[in-house]
């Protein structure tokens, strides 16, 4: 019987690994859930690439400020100590490696740490990359947060990505509903298997050789 933790549990688990004082960018979508589990008594500074450090929670619906959005274009607030800056400065901050942690979603992560998360390569799809490629290379630690398997049961951890790449050799760690994997020079290492999950089980699910 495999153990799968919920998305909320996964967000909480990621949050546990973010120490106080970290500068963190949470990618659009599932990674934004992590914000809800950052301990309220600790100061962790959130960056949004559209020009804000010190982002706070969503405002009350009557207090929505159209000039104060996150990267997903959702209304947010600013904390005391926040700072605004323009796009070149904001992406310089990322590209220059000043963020401690970036949490991203993924379609696939390869053993080499390659990330595919921006395009399924579908012929009819409207292409859009946004800040994905900058985020992928834009933090000291790049954490991916994802289900281990797709809805049709295929592993998102792969020997080589088949989807178009977002970044090469950029992922540090993968948080999945089954286990946490570190990306090491020699491939994936199971850092923490949830519940009764074993390295053997995870190897079977992913079809990869995994170190324990």
């Amino acid at each position: 019987m495999t153990t799968r933790i919920t998305r909320a549990q996964l967000a909480a688990r990621v949050a546990m690994d973010i120490p106080e004082g970290s500068y963190v960018n949470l990618g659009i979508g599932v990674p934004t859930l992590v914000a809800d589990y950052l301990p309220a008594d600790q100061e962790i500074i959130l960056h949004t690439e559209n020009g804000l450090l010190g982002m706070g929670a969503a405002p009350h619906e009557t207090q929505v400020d159209p000039d104060l959005l996150n990267a997903g274009k959702q209304p947010v607030t600013e904390l005391p100590g926040a700072a605004f800056f323009h796009h070149a400065d904001s992406f310089g901050m990322m590209r220059g490696g000043h963020l401690d942690v970036c949490v991203l979603g993924a379609f696939q992560v390869s053993q080499a740490g390659d990330l595919a998360n921006w395009s399924t390569g579908g012929a009819d799809a409207i292409p859009a990359v946004g800040g994905a490629m900058d985020l992928a290379i834009g933090a000291k630690a790049v954490y991916v947060m994802t289900d281990l398997l797709t809805k049709s049961g295929e592993s998102k951890l792969v020997s080589a990505c088949t989807y178009p790449l977002t970044g090469m050799a950029c992922v540090t760690r993968v948080y999945t509903d089954h286990a946490i994997f570190d990306v090491r020079p020699d491939g994936f290492v199971v850092r923490e298997a949830f519940g009764d999950n074993t390295v053997a089980l995870l190897a079977a699910l992913t079809g990869l050789e995994l170190k324990g």
């Binding site: 949004t48 690439e49 559209n50 020009g51 804000l52 009350h60 619906e61 009557t62 207090q63 929505v64 400020d65 159209p66 000039d67 104060l68 959005l69 274009k73 959702q74 209304p75 600013e78 605004f84 800056f85 323009h86 796009h87 070149a88 904001s90 992406f91 310089g92 990322m94 590209r95 390659d114 009819d124 409207i126 292409p127 859009a128 990359v129 946004g130 800040g131 994905a132 490629m133 900058d134 290379i137 834009g138 178009p164 790449l165 977002t166 970044g167 090469m168």
Partner: protein, 253 residues
């Protein structure tokens, strides 16, 4: 006396010819120079190349310009949004050209144009299809692709307040692409809520010095501000809440 003030948005955009490359500030709707875009729609110039982070929302602003068949090509990072149906339709029909640029490369290429940099090596996008054909070089053990500046004939930018020398301050995340686009265009036109007396803007806090600005147009306060203070009562698109007053009264209790 230097006075870059222009009477209205129509006057400000009057000189934009067909075939121009135009940078349009904004990240989603935040910082989008809505009044200038409306004036451009009215003005009629076509065969345009637009440089902007997104490709329009809903049926207004940039989306309306696109819908009017006025845009030949768009250079942007994220055309696809929940409400980008106008772009989506044109793109699928092959009626608009797209140059997709990772957001940070877009920002840095615009900055490079403004700062006189001939080209630069960026680590973003290396090994991806968006770097296909670009010169790749290993520097200090890391791979970089060579990226070139992006210039424009015109930049349309939205600031909070300006003065007659063209100094501009912005508001919150509506700052986004405005300050760099202002540096990268032959002619930079900025809409602001209102004009300040020369010297009234704090010289330590001016984000865009007037040297980058050719024209400033006051378009009136955004609806979520009153006397410069935030009063809320709108959604993220700036549309009035259905019953803002009632809801707010409830919160107060």
């Amino acid at each position: 006396m230097i006075d870059k003030t222009v009477a209205d948005a129509a006057t400000a955009v009057a000189g934009i010819p067909d075939g121009s490359t135009i940078m349009v500030g904004g990240f989603g709707r935040a910082g989008q120079p809505a009044e200038l875009i409306d004036a451009l729609i009215e003005q009629g110039a076509g065969d345009l190349t637009i440089v902007s982070n997104n490709a329009g929302n809903g049926d207004t602003g940039l989306a309306a310009l696109l819908a009017g068949g006025r845009v030949r090509k768009i250079v942007c990072s994220f055309p696809r949004q929940h409400d980008s149906w106008v772009f989506d339709r044109l793109y699928r029909a092959g009626r608009i050209e797209l140059e997709l640029v990772p957001q940070g490369n877009l920002a840095e290429r615009i900055r490079a144009a403004g700062a006189g940099i001939g080209a630069f090596f960026s680590p973003t996008g290396v090994g991806t299809e968006l770097s296909a054909g670009k010169e790749v070089r290993e520097i200090d053990g890391r791979l970089y692709a060579l990226e070139y500046p992006i210039w424009a004939d015109f930049a349309l930018v939205s600031g909070l307040r300006g003065d007659r020398w063209g100094n501009i301050v912005y508001r919150k995340t509506a700052r986004n692409f405005g300050p760099i686009m202002a540096t990268a265009a032959q002619t930079t036109i900025v809409q602001v809520d209102d004009m300040a007396t020369l010297g009234a803007l704090d010289p330590e806090s001016i984000v865009t010095p007037g040297i980058f600005v050719d024209a400033v147009v006051a378009v009136g306060s955004r609806s979520w501000l009153r006397d410069g203070a935030f009063v809320g009562g709108v959604d993220a698109d700036g549309m009035p809440l259905p019953d803002a007053a009632a809801t707010r009264a409830e919160v107060d209790r």
